[in-house]
């Protein structure tokens, strides 16, 4: 899995996220990335 780490969180947290939330389902990671974008700009909405 390439480019899966979110630098906003520490390594342990990213590890938990990847192992327990995403697993083998790369599609879920894409949804998560979109959520990052959507809520990163929430203050401006």
């Amino acid at each position: 899995m390439e480019n899966t780490y979110n630098s906003d969180f520490d390594d342990d947290d990213n590890e938990l996220f990847l192992n327990n939330v995403i697993g083998d389902d790369i599609g879920l990671l894409n949804i998560s990335r979109f959520l990052d974008r959507a809520y990163a700009e929430e203050d401006d909405v």
Partner: protein
Amino acid sequence: MLTQHNMTDDSALIQAYISGDNDSMSKLMDRYKKKIYKYILLTVKNDSVADDIFQDLFIKIQKSLKSDRYIDNGKFLSWTLRIAHNLIIDYFRQKKQSNLVSTDDDGQSNIMYSQSLLESNIEDKLVDDQIKTDLRRLVDSLPIEQREVVILRHYLGMSFKDIATHTDVSINTALGRMRYALINLRKMIEDNNMYMDLKNYS
């Protein structure tokens, strides 16, 4: 990450407030009120309810500080968000709201779409801003436990350890709720024929 202001500054303002300087409370809340209010609003999805909860929160904070129930460990924002979470849970318990589906203990969920969502006419290809708006609407349709985890993670930037502490569940439960939230969102995206070009977000 959940950004706390300088802990010394927060502590100084808290001590000043306890000593009788009411302006210090205003200064303290000015630092965090936007983020706290938005967290409440994103979770309850209703302006007037969010206003009420924020007012209750403000009163509770003042009472707690004045009665020495606050232990200053430099985490004023986390402490405040925890109180907000409890008020939100109280609200949903009172409301026993029916348009969301609860998450069972084993994490299995059934999604009941709101009528407005079903009736929405979502184009196959949406411009980027529209997709983000629609995605937030889909999050609004998640069961409260899953919606809150999404907001804590993606809006407030909490770690899963902090989310677990904040919502008073195990880390595994917090992770499980996040996974089900993403699975449910994907299902809603598919059911609504939303086209999301995710390649640009890799």
